[in-house]
Every structure is written in structure tokens, then in C-alpha cells.
């Protein structure tokens, strides 16, 4: 007992105790649910069997039902589209802004910081704001587009099956740009100024500097930012809840929303767990890529 | 050296330390008497800092024992070892002012506030920081920070002071001044000090006892001038003294009383002892021991000079032959590159080493 107290007071036990606190917590409230999720994906879990820890075994039934669900193909397509388009624009706009604010002009840092105001907002509020901006009859976006002559008649963003997913993508791009920009700014700031000066002496144009210095030096940052963008986009839920709720007619339904809807709207927890298991495998795959692209130093 | 056991303040006995397979400290044996100023010196990575840190308790040892004041401290945490340490970066607590920095250890001991305040004033007077007690470390110059770090150690009245390259962050002139001050402080307090440095001049000028380390081993220890005069091997010979000793291969002559150098026109140097004829040796010549004269005179060997560096007080001459011979000459010497000069070395200044083991063959 005394040795143990000494171990914690003066030895490595102090560190072990501190790290054990966090890891125990995380394993209890994230690690165990992760395993439990796999278990319940093979069980019959509904409102009646909720209060028992272990439920009737269902075999592969939940998986088969999910794959045979008529919505499955559309959800897969929507999820892919939502992720790729969101990440593409978040990244390109974020990179453009990062490059712009990387020029040293008075107030650059301050202006750049203001963009983070979007990032600190609750996702649900962002969704509600865009819900209003994208309103069909009275939305300011429709009015602007009509005034500029880009569209002839109002688009019913949220209720038109062709536009519902796009409306969530628009909100998600707005929400994700600041974080992309800040991460890329940090990467840009890490490129030594004298590299550009050397390139200028060697006769490089602005474009050549970008392609021969900026891009190669940013390679690992870009990999990490894109991977993080995919991870965060696959986590996006609040915007769907606030803008389309996956509708109309499943036209904006993505996997992370479908899983929740099966569990908490249809009380098919087993099937909700199946989608969760499949999606988590995808997310963890992206994470491995992300960790590999940041091997030298741990990022967010 | 005959030291009565009771006066030993710090003792290392067969201390080993491994980092994985890397042998960081290799069978260290070292006794430090009470009141002595000991310098641990060697190139970076030689283990001198590691040795100091094991003494402080900041690193554990793999085997052996460490004694402080007659007590084995192997398993005793740093806070109970009663040693004070001055760090290379000074490690002043940035969120405390100078007074709080000075008396932090006393506060931890539970010393009352009034006594702490008195003690801070007292020590501030010793180190000359009376006016800065309320400043934060970031508001001090490098030299002042260094003094606070010293003061923090003095306040403790510890069993021994440990210094980890405390002057390496100061500029050259301040370093020379602080060297004297630390030494004066040591004499005034009469404490035991262990001082780690990579600068052999610092070690030679400050310490009573110098310990030269390389690759985790003690190569030689002793009184500073003794290390200079009688280096135990090529490493110590080359490390102590500036510019470094010249090493030239040679062979003992038929007579056994002189050595022929494998250098330019194979000059022969008389040596101070009798050696086995024909034995190959490494001859060590200190640049400052080379006497200049007329190349034609008796007893002088002719050497052609390829370059000359004049600093005013001294002139450095570099031979054109290889291995390059460095000569330190008086600043008044008028030598130009391309000149051929005569050189002579007194037999007692000729150091001989075994070419294989690099161990000294001189019995001086």
C-alpha cells in the first residue's frame, strides 16, 4: 500500500493514473458502446425488449433487411454525393481563402478569425438559418438568384427531390469552410519564407511558386485536411435534422441520418445498429489514412 | 588520492545506465569529497549530463549505487535528496516573481513567510539582485536570470550544488565573468559542487577536480593541470588544451632515447624516457610547446608553413605537410605562409601514446 502511494507520488504511477482516468472513461462510454453496437446489430431490439442488456439473437436478419431495403441504394448514393461534393467545396474554398489571407496585409489575421464565427455555431442553428435562407417563396437566396437572372422561377430547395440534398450540401459547405481554411493557413504559415525568395531569385512566377513550392510542401497537410473533412462530413447530422429531415421521400437521406431514424423514429434498433457498424468501418478506414498522412506529428 | 570516507559527500559506485541497448553510463566510479568543486566535461552525448541527472534523481540508474552524504539515494525521489540544481535554461518558474522563485523550495518545506522573506533578501544581496525581487523572469536579462537560478540554489543550503551547463546561454564576456563569480561563491559558501560543461576551459579554470568523460565512461579524472600535463590517453590529451594537441605517428629510434616522426623530412625528437627501439608510437605535441628557431640551427627541425593566422597577441602557424601541425607562436613572430622555419620541442613535452590502445606511454 505504501509502495503504491510512493509509486503514484514520485514514480511513473502518477502518469499511469492520469492516463488511465481518461482511457477508462473513453473505453466505458465509447469503446464499450462500439462493441455493444456490433452485438445489437445481430439482435432483435425493439421497444419491448429495450430494458434488457441482451436480446434475442437475430443472426444476419438485420443486415439482410437493411440491404434489401428499397432506400439502401439511394442512401448509399446520397451519402457518397454529400461527402464528395461537400469536401470538395469546403477544401477548395478553404484553400482559396487560406491563400488569400496568407498575404500579409493589415487586418488579415483578424478577418480570417471572423470566419470561425461560423464554426463555433451549433449545427442545428446553422441548419435553421439555412432553412430560412433557402426558403422557396420568400428566401433571400432565391430572390438574389432571380434578380441576377440566374434562375427564372423560385427553386423549392427543401421540398424538391432534385434540390433537397443540395440544400444541405450548401449549408454544410458554409459550416465547414472556416475549419478547412484555418488548418490550411497553419500549413501555409509553416512554409519558410526564404523558399519563396529563393524561387523568386530563380525566376519563378507566382503560379510556378504555387505548383513547385506551396503544393509539394503542403502535401501532408492537404491529405490530413481532406481526411478530416470526410470524417466530419460523415458525422454531419444536425443540418439534416434542421433542413430536410432526410426528405422529401428519402431524397436527402444519408447513412448517418438513416441509422438514427431507424433507431429513434421506427424503433428498429437492430437495423440502426447495422448501418452504424458499416459506417463506422468506413470512418475508421478514413481515419487510418488520416493518421498515416500525419505520421510525423499528431493532428486533430 | 587519499580521502577519508567520512569526508565523502557524493559517491558513485559501479553505476550503469542503459537506454534500451544503449549504454549511457558505463561502470562509473567517482568520489567527491565535501567542499570540492568537480567538473564533468566531455563532448556532447558523453553521458556527463545523464550522470548529473542520475545524481539529482531525475533519471534512474540500471545498476550500482549513488551515495549522498553517507546515504544511498538510489530509490529516493529528487525532492528528498537535498540537492540543488542550476539548469541550462535556468528553469525559472515564469508565473512567479524573483522572490517567489528564490524561496519556492522553502515554501515547499513549510518555512514561514517572514523567514522566507528574510532569506530572499539575504540571498538577493549575495547575488546582487536586491532591486529585482518583484520582477517576473521574463523581465530579466540573461545574466540576471542566471543569477536568480544561482540564488534559488543557494537559498536551499543543500548537500551539494549541481550545475548543468549553466553558462552556455550567455555571451562570451558575461560567461567569463560568471565563471569567476560562481567560483567565488563556491569558496564563500564552502559547498560541494558538481558542474557539467562541454567547455574544457570552463572546467579547467573553475574546478578543483576534473572528470573527463567519453561514450558513457570516465576517461580520466584529476587535478586540472595534471590532466593537461599527463593525459592518460589520446582522447584526454586532445580534449584538454586549446588549440588541440597535434598527433603525429612515429617510431622509436635505435637508441631508444628519441623518436622519428613520420612527418615531412622525418625529424627525430629526443624523448624523456627510454623506450624499446623500433616501437611504433603516436607522438603528441601541444601547439604551445613548439619552440621556434632558425631552420639551420642545431637541434631544430625544418618545417614549411602553409598558412598563418594572426590574432595580435598570438600567431597560429599551420604546416604544409600532413598531418597538419598547428603551432602557437608569440604575436611578435614575423612568419609568412611559404616560409620554412625551425622547430624544437623539449623532451618533457613530448607525449607518447600506443597507436592501438591510444593509452599514454609516458611515465611522467
Amino acid at each position: 500500500m505504501k509502495a503504491c502511494a510512493k509509486w503514484i507520488r514520485d514514480g511513473i504511477g502518477f502518469d499511469a493514473l492520469l492516463i488511465a482516468m481518461a482511457l477508462t472513461y473513453l473505453l466505458a462510454f465509447a469503446g464499450l458502446p462500439l462493441l455493444y453496437n456490433i452485438i445489437i446489430s445481430f439482435q432483435v431490439v425493439d421497444m419491448f425488449s429495450l430494458n434488457q442488456l441482451f436480446h434475442e439473437f437475430a443472426g444476419w436478419d438485420n443486415y439482410i433487411e437493411v440491404f434489401h431495403d428499397p432506400a439502401a441504394a439511394e442512401v448509399l448514393w446520397n451519402t457518397t454525393l454529400f461527402t464528395i461534393v461537400s469536401v470538395f467545396f469546403q477544401f477548395t474554398l478553404g484553400f482559396a481563402l487560406a491563400l488569400f489571407f496568407n498575404q500579409k496585409f493589415p487586418g488579415a489575421t483578424w478577418f480570417r478569425g471572423l470566419f470561425l464565427a461560423g464554426w463555433v455555431m451549433p449545427g442545428l442553428v446553422v441548419g435553421v438559418l439555412w432553412n430560412w435562407l433557402l426558403s422557396g417563396d420568400f428566401g433571400v437566396i432565391n430572390w438574389t438568384l432571380e434578380t441576377l437572372g440566374i434562375i427564372g422561377e423560385p427553386i423549392f430547395w427543401r421540398s424538391d427531390v432534385d434540390y433537397s440534398l443540395i440544400s444541405v450540401i450548401l449549408a454544410n459547405i458554409w459550416y465547414g469552410v472556416p475549419f478547412n481554411m484555418i488548418l490550411l493557413s497553419v500549413g501555409l504559415a509553416g512554409i519558410p519564407e526564404d523558399l519563396y525568395e529563393a524561387a523568386a531569385l530563380d525566376g519563378a512566377t507566382a503560379l510556378q511558386k504555387f505548383t513547385t513550392i506551396t503544393l509539394p510542401m503542403m502535401r501532408s497537410t492537404i491529405g490530413a485536411v481532406i481526411a478530416l473533412g470526410i470524417i466530419f462530413t460523415l458525422q454531419q447530422f444536425d443540418l439534416f435534422a434542421a433542413i430536410t429531415s432526410g426528405g422529401p421521400a428519402g431524397s436527402s437521406l444519408v447513412a448517418q441520418y438513416w441509422s438514427w431514424e431507424l433507431s429513434f423514429r421506427q424503433f428498429e434498433f437492430g437495423r440502426g445498429a447495422v448501418i452504424a457498424v458499416l459506417m463506422i468501418v468506413v470512418v475508421l478506414g478514413v481515419t487510418v489514412f488520416y493518421v498515416r498522412s500525419t505520421r510525423q506529428e499528431t493532428r486533430l | 588520492m587519499n580521502i577519508d570516507d567520512s569526508t565523502i559527500q557524493i559517491g558513485f559506485t559501479d553505476v550503469n545506465k542503459f537506454y534500451g541497448a544503449y549504454h549511457a553510463l558505463n561502470s562509473i566510479n567517482l568520489s567527491i569529497p565535501k567542499g570540492q568543486f568537480v567538473a564533468l566535461v566531455g563532448p556532447s552525448g558523453c553521458g556527463k549530463s545523464t550522470l548529473l541527472r542520475t545524481l539529482a534523481g531525475l533519471e534512474e540508474i540500471s545498476s550500482g549505487t549513488i551515495n549522498v552524504g553517507g546515504r544511498t539515494v538510489n530509490d529516493i525521489p529528487p525532492r528528498k535528496r537535498d540537492l540543488a540544481m542550476v539548469f541550462q535554461s535556468y528553469a525559472l518558474y515564469p508565473h512567479m516573481n524573483v522572490r517567489e522563485n528564490l524561496t519556492y523550495a522553502l515554501r515547499l518545506k513549510g518555512v514561514s513567510k517572514e523567514i522566507r522573506a528574510n532569506k530572499a533578501d539575504e540571498v538577493a544581496a549575495i547575488i546582487g539582485l536586491e532591486d529585482l525581487l518583484d520582477r517576473k523572469p521574463r523581465e530579466l536579462s540573461g545574466g540576471q536570470r542566471q543569477r536568480v537560478a544561482m540564488g534559488r540554489a543557494i537559498v536551499r543550503e543543500p548537500q551539494a550544488f549541481l550545475f548543468d551547463e549553466p553558462l552556455s546561454n550567455l555571451d562570451a564576456s558575461l560567461r567569463v565573468r560568471m565563471r569567476k563569480e560562481i567560483r567565488a561563491l563556491h569558496e564563500r559558501i564552502g559547498s560541494t559542487s558538481v558542474y557539467v560543461t562541454h567547455d574544457q576551459v570552463e572546467a579547467m579554470t573553475m574546478a578543483d577536480h576534473v572528470v573527463v568523460m567519453r561514450a558513457g565512461k570516465i576517461e580520466q579524472q584529476g587535478v586540472p593541470l595534471d590532466l593537461y600535463k599527463n593525459p592518460a590517453n589520446c582522447f584526454v590529451a586532445g580534449f584538454i588544451g586549446s588549440p588541440a594537441m597535434n598527433f603525429i605517428p612515429g617510431v622509436i629510434d635505435e637508441s631508444g632515447e628519441s623518436v622519428t616522426l613520420d612527418f615531412e623530412e622525418s625529424p627525430s625528437l629526443p624523448i624523456a624516457q627510454s623506450m624499446q627501439p623500433g616501437r611504433p608510437v603516436v607522438v603528441g605535441l601541444r601547439p604551445e610547446h613548439v619552440e621556434l628557431g632558425d631552420a639551420q640551427s642545431c637541434g631544430y627541425a625544418a618545417i614549411s608553413i602553409s598558412s598563418v593566422e594572426e590574432t595580435g597577441s598570438t600567431t597560429y602557424l599551420f604546416s604544409s605537410a600532413t598531418p597538419e601541425l598547428v603551432i602557437v607562436a608569440d604575436g611578435s613572430q614575423q612568419v609568412r605562409s611559404g616560409d620554412v622555419i625551425g622547430v624544437k620541442i623539449a623532451p618533457t613535452n613530448v607525449h607518447l601514446f600506443d597507436p592501438e590502445t591510444e593509452v599514454s606511454l609516458s611515465n611522467g
Partner: protein, 278 residues
């Protein structure tokens, strides 16, 4: 000449930056503007950029009539709980992860990173089923705090680790030699020096807890215990006409967050960029 050119270029960049920020922050501006318009003015074509007669009464009505005080108290309760749990359990670990470099630390760090990426809307299914079976859903706000803290802790650990990494190890060693135990040196030297980094990270966690939606929506069924994020969704009916009320609700809800952000912008941006994301 170069000097003049430089000044013109800076002015141009400044104006472009101003325009970009204004465009980006337009949704927030539109929220405040809409909240002050009359019931008919919100549907005016063309839309009014400024409300002709600001309707402060809407705020009073929303404050009194939509249980927003109760909703926001619940948000504060959840955010406070999440922040406390995260800081108490996460600070020490981030210190240890900053201090050492070995294979065990790498494994721990990797574990933390992996748990950070799990989507809440997917994790909530097993958490709901598990909490239901062990009776934790009897305390839905506590359940939400416990579940959401597991989501915020990895982010907090990674931010704080960066703060701890800036503290020289020698300071801690000096404290050990001066007479501190490991715990003493951590509390008296390391924690005070990392304070700013920890506070910024804690503030970000509080903001996340304040805006949390998925776990609350899934675990809290009692209306009286629901946070403001759920309070907002009560407005989201198919054909909404009370946009001014919703925007007033949203404004009341997020203005504290925006105010904290504007006041501490420099610290937040520094906290995010100095190391954590490097």
C-alpha cells in the same frame, strides 16, 4: 514608388477581405435582421436589408412564451456537466501524452484519435440501448453529459496536449529538485502555466455542449429537461410562418456564444492554430 504600390495593394486586399467576410457572415446578419421584422415584412419582396421598424416585442414574446429560459438552463446544465467531466478526466491524460514519447503513448494517442472520429448519430443507438437497460435513462441529462463527454474528450485532449507541449520539461524537473512530488509539480508548476490553453479548450468544449443536439434529441424525452437546440426544432413545422420568432429564438440562443467568440477570438484562434492543428 514601390511603397505606393504596396499601399494600394493592401487597400485592395483589405476591401476584398471585408467583402468576403461580409458575404460569409450574411446568414448571421440575416438572422438578426429577420428577428426584428414584422410578421409581414419578413415576406416582403424584394427582401428588406434593414427592418423598417424594429420589432423588439418579438424578443419579449419569445422570451416569455417559448420556455426559452428553461431550454437554455438545460443547455447550460448539459454544457457545464460536459465541460467538467471532460476537463477533469481529460487534462491529466493530455499532460501525460505531451510529456512522453514511446510506443505506449503512441497507442494511447491513436486510441484517442480513433474515438474522436465516431459519428454521434451512429454511436447513440448502442448508447441508448445500453443506457436504457441499465436504467441510466432515468437521468436523461446526466446520460447525455456522460455520452457526449466521450465525444468531446478526444478533441479536448488533443488541444490541451499542444498547450502542455509548450511547457519546458526542465521547469518541472526544477520543481522536483526543489522539493515537489510529481503531483505537486503538476499542480503548482505545470497546470498554472498551461492554464490559458486549458481554458480555451474548455471554452470550446462548453460551446459544443451548449449546442449539442443528437444525444439530447435521442436520450431526453421529457420536454422539461430538453436543451435549447431541441427547443428550436419545435418551431420546424412544414409550413412555417413565424420566421421572425424562430430567428429571435436563435439570436437569444447563440448571441452568448458569438459574444464569447468575439471577445476571445484571438485566444481561440491561437489555441486552435498554435500546435494543436500543426
Amino acid at each position: 514608388m514601390m511603397g505606393m504600390k504596396r499601399i494600394y495593394k493592401n487597400q485592395l486586399l483589405f476591401i476584398v477581405a471585408l467583402f468576403a467576410v461580409a458575404l460569409y457572415l450574411f446568414p448571421l446578419y440575416w438572422m438578426y435582421t429577420t428577428s426584428l421584422k414584422t410578421d409581414t415584412a419578413i415576406f416582403a419582396i424584394p427582401p428588406q436589408l434593414l427592418p423598417s421598424s424594429p420589432q423588439w416585442q418579438t424578443y419579449i414574446d419569445v422570451w416569455n412564451g417559448s420556455n426559452i429560459v428553461r431550454y437554455m438552463s438545460n443547455s447550460v446544465f448539459i454544457a457545464t456537466g460536459v465541460t467538467l467531466v471532460t476537463v477533469i478526466f481529460g487534462s491529466g491524460a493530455s499532460y501525460v501524452l505531451a510529456r512522453y514519447r514511446n510506443v505506449w503513448i503512441d497507442i494511447s494517442l491513436f486510441t484517442v484519435l480513433m474515438l474522436q472520429v465516431l459519428p454521434p448519430s451512429l454511436m447513440v443507438t448502442p448508447i441508448f440501448v445500453a443506457f436504457a437497460s441499465i436504467g441510466l435513462l432515468e437521468y436523461p441529462r446526466i446520460a447525455t453529459i456522460l455520452a457526449f463527454s466521450a465525444k468531446t474528450m478526444p478533441f479536448f485532449v488533443i488541444l490541451c496536449r499542444a498547450a502542455f507541449m509548450t511547457i519546458p520539461r526542465e521547469l518541472e524537473e526544477a520543481a522536483l529538485v526543489d522539493g515537489n512530488s510529481r503531483a505537486g509539480a503538476f499542480v503548482m508548476i505545470v497546470l498554472p502555466l498551461a492554464r490559458n490553453g486549458i481554458l480555451v479548450a474548455a471554452l470550446l468544449i462548453f460551446m459544443q455542449g451548449f449546442g449539442e443536439y443528437v444525444y439530447s434529441a435521442s436520450l431526453i424525452s421529457d420536454n422539461r429537461l430538453q436543451p435549447a437546440s431541441i427547443g428550436m426544432t419545435n418551431y420546424l413545422q412544414p409550413n412555417i410562418v413565424t420566421w421572425n420568432s424562430i430567428m429571435a429564438f436563435a439570436a437569444i440562443y447563440i448571441t452568448p456564444i458569438l459574444a464569447a467568440f468575439v471577445l476571445l477570438q484571438r485566444h481561440i484562434v491561437n489555441g486552435l492554430t498554435s500546435g494543436a492543428l500543426k
